[in-house]
Amino acid sequence: MLGVWLFLLPTLVFLAAFTYLPFGIAAWEGLPALGSLLQRENLNALGVTALYTLLVVPLSVALGLLAALAVEGNSRFRLLARALIFHPVILPTVAFAAVFLYLLNPLGPLQGTLRWLGLQNPLGDPLGAFLAVVLIGVLKDMGLFMLYYLAGLQALPKEILEAAKVDGAGRTATFLRITLPLLSPTTFFVGIMATLGALRNVDHIFVLTKGGPVGATDHLLYRVYTLGFEYFDFPQAGALTLVLLTALTTLALLALPRLERGVHYDG
């Protein structure tokens, strides 16, 4: 039995050093500065993060599902579409976002469309910049979610779908009453992945907007970075880290029991 614990040792030591201990350090640094959280900029960052997550998660999950339904099957076109939708997943977010600097610049290839939308220079406009950041967040990840949904669709019990057809259920009814409920473990898992992603991936903000204009894209984690590593205000950055960790821990506590029921480690 001792052998088992020895095998676990490397993992547990490194988890202790770089996950549990840092949680403690964040609390140590941040707790005394919790009062500073009530500043306008911090509240703004909280609001931006909440709104960003509330938009990116449902959009990327729904589009991932829609894409999976659309590319199911093996025609040449569908394989091509699958590769195209998936490809941003393997690109560095900074490179993917940098392309948008070009696409969205006022003289770029989208200028006609942007002018028509009234967003001639979207990155200079608070709403436009926020929408651009949301757009990139969605386009970057929906290919990954499409993949999980494709796996989920393949695992659906065919007999039930056949039975529905025999009973004369239409496509929409079959989808809403049978496919969607049967996919709910996948949806739950993908939703968790999407939420974690929305809370932790801010790379595109560094390239595209740097939190601006006027704080419109000042994501919590981006603000942790600026406070900690540009202003060296460790207490305030620590306090914000604590807020982020609290959100993540809450997510974990809500998700873990269900995740364990829906997911079969034991294959």
Binding site: F23, R82, P88
Partner: protein, 284 residues
């Protein structure tokens, strides 16, 4: 669309292109923004910047790649990134194998506690811990090293559970036979089990490589000197300076250079990539 099974699959006969396009319209519609982005990136990368700023496309140049290659020190960026990702992967292969093996064997009380301790990492990703992790790395005197980049990722919950999954699929009789023959746990792991979890190790390796190849925030925090920059970090600095000069061609060429190794890998090993990502989740 779920009803598409109703249409008889591949009858072997060639369908008219128009019909095929129509039937695949939803797929093509959803893919079109991605095609647009990829196409414009490539076009811009091969177009002289002066033309781009006038909104013209069409003339062809390799100049953007030459300038990008020189100004962002790509050889060094590739080398550092390779060193970091492969070095980390090597260590990870050891930790996830041992941890996965142990998790597969755990039947004692406290097993759930261990599971939760490891699962916690999935929800407390290193990127959320940049501040305390940096303070720690700094205290250890390791800031501005490639080693520091790897440390928070040495233990991987995803990998441990992926490997546990693989080990659980190994038939019991095989283990019992090895035990009867007097093999130590270490020998069982390396001689008997390891060859059987190769698919899981390969899946984990691909996901780890992609994730760390693209990593940006933690390197941004840890690395200060130019010579130790990794790819995404070097590219971001380069894109910032190119943006101020509206050098769109350079940005696009740089983006292509950053993405190229993984995109090539993706094209070559598409099936493996897709399976690896599907496996990397907690599912399956």
């Amino acid at each position: 669309m779920t009803g598409s099974q109703a249409i008889s699959p591949a009858t072997g006969k060639r369908k008219p292109l128009g019909m095929a396009l129509l039937r695949n319209a939803p797929a093509l519609l959803l893919a079109s923004p991605f095609l647009f982005i990829a196409a414009f990136t490539l076009l811009a990368a091969f177009t002289p910047t002066a033309d781009l700023n006038r909104g013209q496309l069409g003339s062809f140049t390799l100049e953007n790649f030459r300038l990008a290659w020189e100004s962002a020190d790509f050889p060094r960026l590739y080398a550092n990134t390779l060193l970091f990702t492969l070095g980390l992967l090597l260590v990870q292969l050891f930790t996830v194998t041992t941890a996965g093996f142990a998790l597969a064997q755990l039947k004692v009380r406290g097993r759930n506690a261990v599971f939760y301790l490891i699962l916690a990492q999935l929800f407390l990703p290193p990127s959320a811990l940049i501040l305390p992790n940096y303070l720690l790395i700094h205290r250890l005197g390791l800031s501005d090293t490639l080693t520091a980049l790897a440390l928070p990722y040495v233990a991987s919950a995803t990998g441990a559970f992926l490997l546990r999954q693989g080990f659980l699929q190994v038939p019991r009789e095989l283990l019992d036979a090895a035990r009867v023959d007097g093999a130590t746990p270490w020998q069982i792991l390396y001689r008997v089990m390891l060859p059987l979890v190769r698919p899981q190790l390969a899946a984990f390796a691909l996901v780890s490589l992609v994730y760390h190849w693209n990593e940006f925030l933690w390197p941004l925090v840890v690395i200060q000197s130019r010579e130790k920059r990794v790819l995404s970090l070097g590219f971001a600095a380069f894109a910032r300076s190119a943006e101020s000069g509206m050098e769109w061609g350079l940005i696009a060429a740089g983006a292509v250079l950053v993405a190229l190794p993984l995109v090539l890998g993706f094209v070559l090993f598409q099936r493996a990539f897709v399976e690896a990502f599907a496996r990397s989740g907690l599912k399956g």
